[in-house]
């Protein structure tokens, strides 16, 4: 904690050393204890934010490659998407308190719960990605057999349909975080969906650049570049609009992750625009930079939210300001 942190958040200032500047100075709390519960989610959920975005990003690249007949880009991205999807499901189930009851999510469909919406999005998204990946894994010598041709027709159809749900999979995680009482997530609800959409596109495109040959990777480069640029802009806009919670986005692990994310994303974007067309190594390096940048972005946002629940100031100060403003308005009205 820096100097702004008040060791006696409970008390009115006594004479003596200058109180810390800013709204921290007269924040009351119960012995400095948090008001909120810190999230019970561990690193698995943060990692899922990345793998879920990657699964969605690679799925749309794979679908586009399929439509354009870019065979190697298609193959790499369907397999990448399937891998990321499997990792996502594993991470999500592992972070449950009762993993063996994961299927209880399928009991209900609840529009008020972003996690329920996400469950059904993933349920719609998953089978197509799985079928497409199974076809890609089929040995070439079997592919001309009749059942294989049937599988191809089927998997192509539902694979493309999966790609249509991918934008939802890429962005709903922003609602998942934003619709909580966690100040670090709730207060960035305006820009966070765009940060996550950009991050997912950058990672999907970056994966295509890493895994496909140069002559087929042009759409992946374009997608990655647009995504990275979008993420950088959205992330800046998000920061500009922050109030007191800007602190948690700048300090500690969250601050380090987000600074790293910005550096890597800028580097990956530059690589995608400048060298990735000509050099295989350059394309791979840019792809890796974009993937790591996207992952760090997710961990940064996740950690910032967690940190914002551990200090009562982030809860009390904005709420108190709202109350005081309302009281002033009432006073202005009655006088």
């Amino acid at each position: 904690m820096n100097g702004a942190h008040d060791p006696h958040p409970g008390g009115p200032r006594r004479a003596g050393p200058e109180p810390a500047a800013g709204p921290a100075a007269d924040v009351a709390s119960y012995y400095g204890r948090p008001v909120l519960k810190s999230p019970v989610w561990e690193w698995g959920t943060a990692a899922y934010l990345f793998t879920g975005g990657l699964a969605a990003g690679t799925a749309v690249v794979a679908a586009g490659a399929d439509l354009q007949g870019a065979v190697r880009l298609r193959r790499a991205c369907w397999l990448g998407s399937f891998g990321a999807l499997l990792a996502s499901v594993g991470l999500l189930i592992d972070d449950l308190g009762r993993p063996e009851r994961f299927h209880h999510m399928l009991r209900v469909a609840k529009p008020t719960s972003p996690m329920s919406i996400g469950t059904w999005l993933l349920t719609a998204f998953g089978p197509g990605v799985g079928a497409a990946a199974v076809w890609e894994l089929l040995p070439v010598r079997w592919r001309s057999a009749r059942p294989a041709r049937l599988l191809r027709a089927l998997s192509r159809g539902i694979g493309l349909a999966s790609a249509a749900t991918a934008p939802g999979v890429a962005t709903y995680t922003a609602a998942l975080l934003a619709q909580t009482a966690v100040p670090g997530w709730s207060e960035v609800r305006g820009a966070l969906p765009f940060v996550f959409a950009g991050s997912a596109a950058a990672s999907g495109g970056g994966f295509g650049m890493l895994a496909a040959p140069l002559d087929e990777a042009a759409p992946a480069r374009a997608f990655a570049a647009v995504g990275a640029a979008g993420e950088l802009v959205a992330s800046r806009v998000m920061e500009r609009r922050m109030g007191l919670i800007r602190e948690v986005y700048h300090q500690g692990a969250a601050g380090r992750c987000r600074r790293g994310a910005e550096l890597l994303t800028v580097a990956g974007l530059a690589g995608a625009l400048l060298t990735a067309k000509r050099s295989r190594a350059g394309a791979a390096a840019s792809g890796i930079a974009l993937l790591s940048g996207s992952a760090l972005q997710r961990f940064g946002v996740f950690e910032a939210g967690v940190a914002s629940t551990k200090d009562p100031r982030y809860v009390v100060v904005p709420q108190r300001e709202r109350l005081d403003a309302a009281a002033r308005d009432r006073g202005a009205l009655s006088s």
Binding site: H8, G97, R107, A181, F223
Partner: protein
């Protein structure tokens, strides 16, 4: 009563949730001005509901060694020590700024321990805190500033005596009219009962933990060794048998009152007027207003200081209220994502043809 309340029948909430001919909505009115801090409610709740203990821990927060509501603490008595007199003894009190929850020394000791806890101390009431800050030597003797049973100034003479008051408050799940925990639960484990209360079905909850982050009061938590979310059920089983919840039954001062919510609201209004009449101007009701950020509580409180002094959020808003705005943004972001993909392929297709 506001016009909206008069218009709404006492079972409106349960009816809106699909119950036919439900009983009236019930709740608690916790009048902290008569609480003596005996913790009978905490004990009665643990016994009746088989809530496990979470280890012996001395927190250094006055007589409060529970710390916070949590998976293993469904009632929590907060103890606030303030160098201020009570109500009538000083009519100028109401103009003072919000008071502290404890003395400077205790706050310092407690804060250091909170900071070194894995969840920042929000797991109080679920697991004990680390013994020494930073996980160092566990046997360092710390002066936690525990209260003694001698009167202030007994040992030193009257010149060191100061004004002093205790605030004690038995906290509980608010059984919100618009409950964040219930709205986000993806399994349907959390549900609205026919009594208008909010309860977790233990055979359904899969421990996803979403409710923990969606409660704006930091009430519900996952029990570490069990993996499921736990909180006050307002003694759902006792209500079925027409019994008073265990905590209200055990409370010796009627600080915790149980009953139909519209009746409790009237009682709370009367008590507030009475206290204001006695010069306790700082008394305020918490969760009484059906137009607040959670649509009002099922469990109301009468407080003698600002909510944050007791560790309560001053003006919480249920996260669900932001859902329309959030989904509009998500929709726009998803559309941008799709457009970027289509654009990327279309532009390269055009580029190839040239």
């Amino acid at each position: 009563m506001t016009s909206r309340e008069l218009a709404a029948p006492p079972d409106a909430l349960a009816r809106a949730n699909g119950y036919e001919a439900p009983p009236p909505r019930v709740g608690f009115f916790t009048d902290t001005s008569v609480c003596i801090g005996c913790k009978a409610c905490e004990v009665a709740c643990k016994e009746w509901n088989h809530v496990p203990d979470d280890g012996l821990d001395l927190l250094g927060m006055s007589f409060d060694n529970t710390g916070m509501l949590g998976a293993n603490s469904w009632r929590h008595v907060a103890f606030v020590e303030q160098p201020r007199p009570v109500g009538r003894q000083d009519a100028g009190l109401a103009g003072l700024p919000t008071g502290p929850s404890g003395l400077a020394h205790t706050s310092e000791v407690v804060e250091a321990r909170l900071r070194s806890a894995p969840r920042g101390g929000s797991e109080l009431g679920t697991t004990p805190l680390p013994t020494a800050p930073g996980g160092g030597a566990p046997h360092v003797v710390q002066d936690l500033g525990m209260p003694t049973f001698s009167r202030p100034g007994d040992t030193s003479g009257p010149e060191t005596r100061t004004d002093f008051r205790w605030l004690m408050e038995s906290d509980v799940c608010k059984h919100c009219t618009e409950a964040g925990c219930l709205d986000v639960c993806p399994t349907g484990a959390l549900f609205r009962t026919e009594f208008g209360t909010v309860v977790v079905q233990q055979d359904v909850c899969n421990g996803c933990g979403y409710c923990v982050s969606a409660c704006p009061y930091g009430v519900i938590d996952r029990r570490p060794d069990d993996g499921r979310a736990q909180k006050c059920t307002l003694c759902y089983d006792r209500l079925h048998d027409g019994l008073t919840p265990a905590c209200a039954k055990a409370c010796p001062t009627e600080s915790i009152q149980f009953g139909p919510l519209d009746e409790l609201r009237e009682r709370a209004d009367r008590r507030l007027a009475e206290l204001h009449g006695q010069g306790v101007d700082e008394a305020e009701l918490y969760g009484r207003d059906p137009d607040d950020g959670v649509g009002g509580h099922g469990a109301l409180f009468l407080l003698l200081d600002k909510p944050e002094v007791y560790g309560l959020p001053p003006a919480p808003v249920v996260p669900t209220r932001f859902a329309p705005q959030i989904w509009r943004r998500v929709g726009a972001a998803a559309a941008s994502f799709a457009l970027a993909a289509i654009g990327a392929f279309a532009s390269t297709a055009v580029g190839n043809r040239r």
